[in-house]
């Protein structure tokens, strides 16, 4: 989104933002994340390069990383490479054919080429054809002898080498097919479609949406998002009643997918506290793909790691301050100006992140949240004990788990407690749900803090399938791209003592955090350490988990940092490499 980039540029360079770009919301913009769909069936989420004018305003950044170099040339394997600059200004949803060698050109795909592989245009299915009395070839004489094609692979390569267009090549292949004429109309269309997928290099550029991004990650990178299928994600938002203006807590080990989903629903007036169980905030890569304005993200997203919650706000902020003398060191060194600026940027970003963590902590301590979503590899019972009390009474929660049995003891404990309160016999008489829990977890503040009360409890999963709908040939797709998702435990928190007007006691999390905070202080005195967390004292925050990713991705989240432009266009490319 150009306004976001512009705002980021202004923030970085200290100049007022430039006038907004003309509204061309149906075309891909500089600096925007888009979804690319290729004719060979693969998909990429990429960020388009910034406008050169914007880049020139970012004097603090080494320009080469944005304007030149390979970072905006996307290598798409057999598809060839693609210069991302070419995509700027293309129409969303259109199909473009890539012509020529090297980076090539992109031209809208000819209508006739689209039509001749249109399976819908084959009027009616087999049964209808017969009813119509229309004659059509059938497949009875088709024998797979592997000799039905006159053209050899070498012939095809030779034609390609001569610069024949994709359509001409497909014509030649059809002409060379001994069996094409004998195929049914439908088979012919499918044959052409297959040849197009192979020989036409087409690309579709799509505006990112929560839906297509969620589906992209689910089908291409399921392990990064805990296999949360889009339908399940959509239900989390409903069951947790995420709405404009809501204050939402999200525990997210899904690359920011759930945080992004919540952000897209709370709008400009809400707030999402996005927590991660990692030691450093991982790149919430999915958040940036939705192109939310940077200033809106600044207002509505507070990120922290679970670890940082146990520091007091003062501790967190002092931790982020540059060590005494560090600034002078930078000035004195003979580093190139760009490197100095880069270092400064990094320090600035780190400080900003610390402030964000402190704010997230303060916000959590305030409690009274409207919605809670847990999508992380944590014990559901702990999540309920520590996080559900952060909700205001009568506010809903949704907890995702890939395993239903992980959720069962939690639901049993909540329900047994509730039935006891209501004077109803527990349905699991004789069973001790607490046993399982005690086995699974160490006795700790999280287990000793009382279980909150909740009603409307439900565990469910979702069964979704897609259909091929063609005239006379409709049926569910025979392959589902990754059918697995997981289970949701949903419910509504009620008052700790639902019969009294007494104020709510301090939540278990608040007690746990203040206790740990004291312990950390003592531990620091004992060890004489100057910081709480070793990795934070390192200016580049080097850890074995790969900090360059952390840094660049974290910056990309707020889309505020020009460095991110280069880094994040590279990121999906790297992902692509892994994929192939």
């Amino acid at each position: 989104m150009s306004s976001a980039v512009a705002a980021a540029a202004a923030a970085a360079a200290g100049t007022p933002p430039p006038p907004p770009a003309p509204p061309t919301a149906h075309q891909a913009q500089h600096g925007e994340y888009v979804l690319l769909r290729l004719s060979n069936g693969s998909e990429r989420v990429v960020r388009l390069p910034l406008h050169p004018d914007e880049v020139s305003r970012l004097d603090s950044v080494p320009k080469k990383s944005i304007t030149g170099g390979p970072s905006h040339v996307l290598n798409l394997g057999r598809f060839g490479s693609l210069d991302l600059y070419q995509l700027v200004g293309l129409n969303f949803g259109w199909t473009y054919e890539r012509i020529g060698t090297g980076a090539g050109r992109l031209v809208p795909l000819a209508t006739e080429e689209v039509d001749r592989a249109d399976l819908h245009s084959v009027q009616a299915g087999l049964a209808i054809e017969a009813a119509d009395g229309r004659t059509s070839a059938d497949n009875r004489n088709l024998i797979d002898t592997n000799t039905s094609q006159d053209l050899t692979q070498d012939d095809i390569l030779k034609l390609k080498g001569e610069g024949v267009s994709g359509a001409e090549l497909i014509d030649a292949i059809i002409a060379g097919s001994k069996t094409f004429a004998e195929k049914t109309e439908f088979s012919q269309a499918k044959y052409i479609k297959r040849k197009q997928e192979r020989h036409l290099r087409t690309i579709q550029i799509l505006k990112t949406s929560l839906m297509n991004v969620a589906e992209h990650y689910y089908t291409r990178h399921p392990s990064r998002i805990m296999n949360i299928r889009p339908d399940t994600l959509s239900q989390m938002l409903s069951y947790a009643n995420v709405q404009p203006g809501a204050r939402v807590v999200v525990l997210d080990d899904c690359g920011g997918l759930v945080t992004a989903a919540a952000l897209s629903r709370v709008g400009d007036s809400g707030l999402v506290v996005g927590l991660s169980t990692q030691f450093e905030e991982p790149g919430f890569e999915v958040v940036s793909t939705l192109n939310m304005p940077a200033d809106q993200l600044d207002r509505t997203l507070l990120r922290s790691t679970w670890y940082h919650l146990s520091l007091s706000s003062e501790d967190i902020i002092s931790e982020g301050a540059p060590a005494p003398g560090a600034g002078a060191e930078v000035e004195d060194s003979a580093m190139p100006a760009a490197a100095v600026a880069g270092r400064k940027n990094l320090a600035e970003r780190r400080r900003k992140r610390q402030l964000c963590r402190a704010a997230a902590r303060d916000e959590l301590m305030r409690g009274n949240f409207d919605s809670l979503i847990v999508a992380a590899r944590v014990c559901p019972m702990e999540a309920v004990r520590l996080l559900v009390p952060l909700l205001a009474p009568s506010r809903p929660f949704a907890i995702f788990s890939r395993s239903s049995s992980a959720l069962a003891p939690t639901m049993a404990a909540l329900r047994s407690q509730q039935m006891a309160l209501d004077g109803r016999p527990t349905p699991y008489a004789g069973d001790e749900p607490d046993d399982a829990e005690d086995d699974a977890m160490p006795a700790d503040a999280s287990t000793t803090s009382p279980l909150p009360r909740a009603i409307n409890l439900q565990i469910h999963d979702t069964w979704t399938r897609e259909y091929q709908v063609l005239p006379g040939r409709s049926h569910p797709f025979m392959n589902m791209p990754g059918a697995a998702s997981g289970f949701l435990l949903t419910g509504i928190r009620i008052l700790t003592d639902p019969d009294s007007d007494a104020p709510e006691p301090l939540a278990g999390l608040q007690l746990l955090l203040s206790e740990v905070n004291q312990l950390r202080k003592r531990a620091r005195q004992v060890t004489g350490s100057s910081t709480y967390w070793g990795i934070s004292s390192n200016p580049v925050a080097g850890t074995s988990t790969g900090v360059s990713t952390d840094e660049s991705a974290a910056a990309a989240v707020s889309t505020e940092e020009p460095v991110a432009a280069a880094a994040s266009t590279e990121e999906p490319v790297a992902a692509a490499a892994v994929e192939q």
Partner: protein
């Protein structure tokens, strides 16, 4: 009962009166009561909850079939509905989805919902007013298939949702209501595949792309105190006491205990229930598939309208062809034959749909085909 609720905190508990099954959700400003129908003679407990669209869906007065949370959630995400979105819906029905839409678009967006049944439209309007949603949801009584979505809404909508018996008759009107300057989305909700097929053809002929159809169902899992029969206990039933008998038998003062043990050893005096009870092993609470699951709600068809991918003229002709044809021309489902098309990977087919619809201008051949369909 409602008077007792005033002044209570949300999340607190009140005793339901005998004979009442707890309060139904009575509105956004008041309380949606969640009833616990316990066995207490004086009526169950009720909890005072903030109303939410999800609670409204399970407690609203049914005037029609309604949409439930699985379909509602999926459609909302597929339609890319966000705070500030302008959404057009037809028909309103019982207002289940309408409440959820009004929640999601927020105070900066708007829901325009159309219902051809005058009384339903009136009741829905009353509900919106009572629930504090009147400023963000407008109900109009209108047959959209015939009259369209009003001139006022031309080019205004970010998304259109159709829950109509003949959705294909409204797709041309829906296209008029959609904002032509940005990519917009449409969803259609139909229980029958014949409706879906016709809708998909109309969508394609009217310039929509990325036409995809789904079905989504929630499977509730119930918690049961599960116990299972122990094979070894069952095999050994009535023999374990032998050792005890021998031990007790040595002490003649224990006549009573011996008699009890002997009774256990005598299988002719044991009931089947007793055996069942004594050979059970408890597994603790276990999840089992719930008894109640919907087998089918409706097919959900989604499509995108991209600026520049359709032209007024071609689309208008196609529209005439789609709207003009009698309903019985719809090809019925193919009888199963051995020559069903080969299984096709979902991905490939999705690309096919996208590629098929992705031409820069609508195919000129679409008009005769549409005519064919309505012959």
């Amino acid at each position: 009962m409602h008077r007792e609720l005033i002044g209570k905190r949300f999340g607190s508990r009140v005793r339901g009166r005998a004979g009442t099954r707890g309060g139904r959700g009575q509105g956004r400003r008041q309380a949606a009561g969640k009833a616990n129908t316990g066995a207490t003679p004086g009526g169950g407990w009720a909890y005072l909850l903030h109303p939410s669209p999800e609670l409204w869906t399970v407690s609203l007065p049914h005037r029609t079939q309604i949409l439930y949370v699985a379909d509602i959630s999926f459609i909302t995400m597929q339609l890319n509905i966000q705070p500030g979105s302008v959404v057009v819906e037809s028909g309103t029905g019982s207002g289940s989805f309408s409440h959820s839409l009004a929640r999601t678009v927020g105070p900066t967006g708007h829901l325009h919902t159309f219902e051809y049944h005058a009384q339903r439209a009136e009741l829905a309007a009353e509900e919106f007013a009572r629930h504090g949603l009147a400023d963000r949801a407008t109900v109009r009584c209108r047959d959209v298939c015939e009259l369209g979505f009003t001139e006022e809404l031309r080019g205004q909508a970010d998304a259109v949702f159709l829950d109509l018996p003949s959705p294909w008759l409204a797709i041309g009107h829906a296209r008029d209501a959609l904002n032509p300057r940005v990519p917009t989305r449409l969803a259609s909700y139909s229980p029958c595949m014949e409706q879906v097929q016709r809708t998909c053809l109309a969508l394609r002929d009217l310039g929509f792309s990325e036409i995809r159809t789904f079905e989504t169902l929630i499977r509730p899992h119930a918690l049961r105190g599960a116990s299972q029969r122990s094979l070894e206990s069952l095999a050994r039933y009535g023999t374990r006491e032998l050792a005890a008998l021998e031990e007790a038998g040595a002490d003649s003062a224990n006549a009573e205990a011996v008699a009890a043990i002997q009774q256990k050893l005598d299988l002719s005096r044991v009931t089947a229930e007793q055996v069942a009870r004594e050979t059970q092993v408890s597994l603790g609470p276990q999840l089992v598939m719930g008894q109640e699951m919907r087998g089918h709600t409706s097919y959900l068809t989604f499509a995108t309208l991209y600026p520049g991918l359709w032209s007024e003229d071609a689309a208008a002709t196609a529209e005439e062809a789609v709207a003009g044809g009698p309903a019985e021309s719809q090809p019925s489902a193919a009888v199963p034959t051995e020559e069903q098309p080969a299984p096709e990977p979902a991905e490939g087919a999705a690309t096919a749909a996208a590629a098929a619809a992705g031409s820069p201008s609508p195919s000129s051949s679409s008009t005769p085909e549409a005519a064919d369909a309505s012959e």
